[in-house]
Subunit: 448 residues, 2 copies
């Protein structure tokens, strides 16, 4: 840490923290969902946290880091699950949270500073009738820059697909880590150079995304006799092109009891679906649910749902905070021996394979499905709860699920190249040589 | 026509026309796209046209019709192609055009009187940021009631599917043809009792549909070396869940020269696509087009496109007026020997079958494709231009196309049960006995 005094001297006037509590807090994300990552990343610490307030400060930090050959790890809300925000070799932690402005808005498109949270962006958009197309269940904490750097999907994916789809991110502005840092704009398919690169291909300072015109999203919980019926509903409802929807999450009957007060809304022993649907079409959704023996057991109107999300009002938090990887979070709070997997089911056969996986493992694997559009088709992915015993057994489960016809994206590695959601056709290594020529951005995240 | 004097006497105070010019005009629709229907329907005439101004007048007419056992044919804009608005056995023509109010609007849903045109509805919605989810290429003339009674799809189907999809129509109000007419509201899946029933299951007086939040729809024309490449683009672009789109129409290279000034924008010998895409994502669309060797040859921004549609401003009419069955209309204007078919291609194999059909018939069949979502998948239908020689040859072409793996919906019949777009599982005959117990609504439209 010889570089530190010089670096801190150079950064005079910037917001800096070196106290152990802040260093610990800002060196973490939600990697601890994985017992393997927990072991590996628990003790990683940055040496100093710097929180720039504008792009000039970002450029100044980038220059100092390059000159002093410091390591640097960029972080947003720290809501990732793969140690994206964990400095593997110490160094500077760049907390982007103070760059949180809406830079520009016009019909169908918005540009936001990287540190703006998805929730604050949506609050700013709401009066204008627009919204982000998707957000993770961590909408409240997750930043748009972090989502682009490490996210994939979320609420909205049942309509809009995923973040890596063509046109899903229109432009990204970055700053290079060089003695004389450059600001660059990546547009069109060039955004793939930084998409899901865990923030090691330049400092993302702003993001331009297409917006969705906002529907009045009502929330519903539907109870079903079996997971199989709930899954068939999820498929049919997501395939109903004529019903506007934002969220279609399906749960094994053993999962709702792990979801606290919201879970209690589901009668014991029932499978469940949590959906967000355009309020005038909630009745059309319920008709499809009935065809699959589903009963609506909880209804909340769009105004109340928005108020729960935006102001924290109401008896229950926003229902999306019980879906995607928040399901895992709620279960982990009650049972620390639980972990999870990420499973993709091939379109056309997804329900069949869901049923196969569901009947294979007993209590060890409990399915939680998220329905989405993928390249023009409807399928589901799963974030199943898995009872963790040993690493070996976890890998056995992964292998067995793949034998049954699904594809597992391993969420138990912090190495970018190993993670399953990663696109393989993006020209990222080439761009890293341009954006981070001294390889100072969180070394260790790449195999090569 | 013994009933006429009594009927007219009873309808004192209503707007009535009996002159031959009005009777001819109001006894027609666009059935003449079919040489077969032209022969059969050309001389059909109603005896009197009545144009109610409100629901009370509709109820009064229904009562008088029932008492006098007159025949009655309900019409909107008369833009259908199957003689929906043609009185097969004379009688009263009920012109719904004066019932054109927006009854109510709230986020995501609107209720409209049946005679409101789709264009006027969209003009009323635009300042509020909403729009109809789909409209036929005859948006300017077509009424929402007529669309529900006889339409199926249109601009918007690439995103929202079709009118018969669950949730696509939320409610329909009808008036029965009885001595004491009843007003009834059909909701949820009950709307199928009147959907695509050609207006013979009660008088549709208002319609409640879910709305789409409005995107800024830019227009583009893209030229491709071949139909096959244009079709592959159409598929890929429609499958791109992350790009908001309203229209994806694809044309054989021989079709643009039949489309007047808009057609001239396409270089000679090139296949073409007309698309409406959310303006900030037009670049993402163009990147997909490039992958299929497509060049954007015409661009019009969303504001200008809206102004062309809403106010008739600009050098070119709205591009959707060159798609769907407007393509046929433009071609027919230049060559009266042309007719058309309606072809559906099964998902997964649609491009393969498109190529088969395209290479089978030479100049006799020229493909025009419309890409849509159907039950969660992307496929295309075609409204091919067909050089008409004889009825026998037309039926041979239909048979051959079906042998090649596509499905033809015969647009050369005015009988409801025979038309291909018709859903067969709807409880329409049962409902007809309730809504039209004396079978006075355009007899001859049903086989039974």
């Amino acid at each position: 840490m010889d570089y530190l005094p010089a670096l801190i001297a150079e950064l005079g006037g910037l917001e800096i923290a070196e106290d152990p509590a802040t260093l610990r807090l800002k060196s973490r994300d939600f990697f601890w969902f994985s017992p393997l990552l927990k072991r590996q990343l628990e003790d990683c610490r940055g040496d100093v946290v710097v929180r720039p307030r504008n792009i000039e400060e970002v450029m100044k930090i980038a220059a100092v880091v390059a000159k002093t050959r410091s390591k640097i790890t960029v972080r947003g809300g720290g809501t990732g699950n793969y140690g994206q925000a964990v400095p593997l070799e110490g160094g500077v932690i760049l907390d982007m949270g103070a760059l949180d402005r809406v830079i520009s808005l016009s019909p169908g498109v918005g540009t936001f500073e990287a540190g703006a949270t998805m929730l604050e962006i949506d609050k700013a958009l709401a009066p204008k009738g627009w919204e982000l197309r998707f957000y993770p269940s961590t909408r409240k904490q997750a930043t748009i820059g972090g989502f682009v750097a490490g996210g994939a999907a979320g609420a909205g994916s049942c309509t809009w697909g995923q973040l890596s789809d063509p046109g899903a991110v229109l432009a990204v502005d970055i700053v290079t880590i060089e003695e004389e840092p450059r600001a660059m704009t990546l547009e069109g398919s060039d955004v793939r150079k930084v998409l899901h690169a865990y923030g090691i291909n330049g400092i993302i300072v702003s993001v331009t995304v297409p917006l969705a015109p906002a529907h009045p999203w009502a929330e519903r919980i539907v109870a079903f006799p079996t997971l199989s019926e709930a899954a068939a509903f999820g498929q049919a409802f997501t395939e109903a092109d004529g019903i506007a929807k934002k969220l279609v999450s399906v749960f094994d009957p053993r999962i709702p009891p792990k979801l606290g007060r919201v879970g209690k809304l589901v009668p014991e022993g029932k499978a469940a679906a949590i959906v967000m649907v355009s309020e005038p079409q909630a009745g059309a959704m319920a008709e499809i649910a009935r065809l699959h023996n589903g009963d609506v057991v909880f209804e909340r109107g769009a105004k109340e749902a928005e108020s729960a999300a935006f102001e924290g009002h109401g008896t229950y938090g926003p229902l999306y905070e019980y879906t995607w990887n928040h399901t895992t979070l709620h279960a982990l709070k009650r049972d620390p021996a639980i972990t999870y997997l990420q499973v993709k089911f091939p379109p056309e056969h997804n329900l069949e394979i869901v049923n196969r996986v569901a009947s294979e493992f007993g209590d060890e694997v409990q399915l939680h499905l998220e329905f989405q559009r993928r390249f023009g088709r409807v399928t589901c992915s799963a974030l199943p709860l898995v009872a963790y015993s040993t690493d070996e057994r976890l890998y056995e489960v992964i292998e067995r699920i793949e034998t049954l016809g699904a594809q597992v994206s391993n969420p138990h590695t912090y190495v970018l190249d190993n993670a399953g959601w990663k696109r393989v056709d993006a020209p990222q290594p080439e761009f890293k040589r341009i954006a981070d020529p001294h390889a100072l951005m969180n070394p260790g995240k790449l195999v090569s």
